[in-house]
Amino acid sequence: MQDLSIPIAAQISMRRLLVGYLISLLVGLLLGIMISRSKYLDETLSPLLLGMQTLPSICWIPLAILWFGLGEESIIFVIVIGAIFSISMAVVSGIKNVPPLFIRAAKTMGAKGWHSYTTVVIPAALPSIISGMKQGWSFAWRALMAGELLTPTSGLGYVLIMGRDLHDMNQVVGIMLVIVIMGLVIDRLIFARAENAILYRWGLSRN
């Protein structure tokens, strides 16, 4: 018997989401930095990333099940695939749009190599990186739902599909509301705060 109570389901989903999102954040950042550092990688991988991003993550589910079996890993894989491309693309474009003047100024003050990267390039690209992270987060949610709806295991998506099977629309709409609320809360608590802090520092906020 599966326990279908919402808190447990939400907890399971949340854990998957966090694990998948953190992996995609880490890999996405590294991938983005690597691409922005090398022209060769940029030319070969950038179109590929764009293409992969247009591919809905749900398309990966059959392969994920083949590779990882019905279970935790395949859902996490789908989440990672769902979020990674928008994050790394945001990192690449953020780094490309860093004003050259900042880099020149840092150079004349003796900043070199990795140090100038961490103290100038990344902070300067941060507004764009944060918006990519935000976008990645919403893609991760979608991927999570796709994964849970299509692989009957556990979590919010599974409870939702159970509601469908039992013709219990209360449960379906209830889960939808829970997802919306969780999304909003996390955005308010994390992303909106980070974004506002940066916009304030840069003098870009509207009030």
């Binding site: 100024a105 003050m109 003796g110 900043a111 140090h115 003098g203």
Partner: protein, 278 residues
């Protein structure tokens, strides 16, 4: 201490190559205030960037105390036309940035930063973010940041060009005071001849296409200088005379072929029928 010898710089673009600099020789003594003036496109900023090590000459070299300059370094601080402050750092952190790279301790850094902010009269805004300052104040912070590095050479690339004229004249006075107090070698690029004569020990007039040094003027006037000073105005006049044909040459290259400076500097007034009523 700074020896520029036989520097050439060619930019290759789709529509051919431009000679930004051709056979430039110049030597600058320690503690000298040298101003490069010239029409737009005469390569004065390029020359400054080469001295800074931000660009490489096509041939020739720049030596500082006998050693060739190969890359940018903290011994040659640059002030750009824009302040180039980092928007994610507070004013004081911006000033400390370079000293941090230099490896100064936290307390020493803070003390020095406050010292130099005091020099540009901005201690009140130490914890503000750059966007909260006016353009002139940002340029002051950039000056404090440049001074904080204790470089013996300060390179300034039209640093006051974007400022309104009141702010500019205040900063001119302060820059002269700071120069007298710190004894730095300053190389200053501008297209404004008044500014050049006001600040310089030596004004280097450059020509465009190809970029070359045309003439040198020594300005031997007491400081602080005043823009209304008659001797200063005379020197400005001499330099402007030298620049006139250069400006015409550049404008001719950009405009239609029927344009000449003589024809187009005459403005017919509304009062052209003098004596009609007699």
């Amino acid at each position: 201490m700074l020896e520029i010898s036989g520097v050439y710089k060619t930019f290759t673009q789709k529509n051919g190559a431009t000679n930004a600099l051709q056979d430039v020789h110049l030597s600058i003594k320690k503690g000298e205030f040298v101003v490069l003036v010239g029409p737009s496109g005469c390569g004065k900023s390029t020359l400054l960037n080469i001295i800074a090590g931000l660009e490489k000459p096509t041939s020739g070299q720049v030596c500082k105390e006998g050693r060739p300059i190969l890359e940018a370094g903290p011994d040659r601080m640059v002030m750009f036309q824009e302040a180039a402050l980092f928007p994610w750092l507070k004013v004081i952190e911006n000033v400390e940035y370079g000293m941090k790279i230099k490896g100064l301790g936290k307390r020493e850094r803070r003390e020095k930063a406050i010292h130099f902010l005091k020099m540009v009269h901005l201690t009140r805004f130490a914890t503000a973010y750059p966007h909260e300052l006016s353009v002139g104040m940002r340029q002051r912070v950039a000056l404090a940041r440049a001074l904080s590095m204790d470089s013996d050479i300060l390179l300034m690339d039209e640093p006051f060009a974007a400022l309104d004229s009141q702010t500019k004249s205040i900063l001119h006075t302060e820059l002269q005071q700071i120069w007298c107090a710190t004894k730095k070698t300053i190389i200053f690029v501008t297209h404004n001849v008044d500014e050049a004569v006001l600040l310089a020990d030596r004004v280097i007039v450059m020509t465009a296409n190809p970029g070359r040094i045309k003439k040198e003027f020594r300005v031997q006037l007491g400081r602080p200088r005043n823009i209304e000073d008659i001797d200063l105005a005379r020197t400005v006049g001499q330099i402007l005379g030298e620049l006139k044909e250069e400006v015409e040459k550049v404008a001719k290259a950009e405009l239609d072929s029927d344009w000449t400076l003589e024809n187009n500097s005459f403005v017919p007034g509304s009062n052209t029928h003098l004596g009609n009523g007699i």
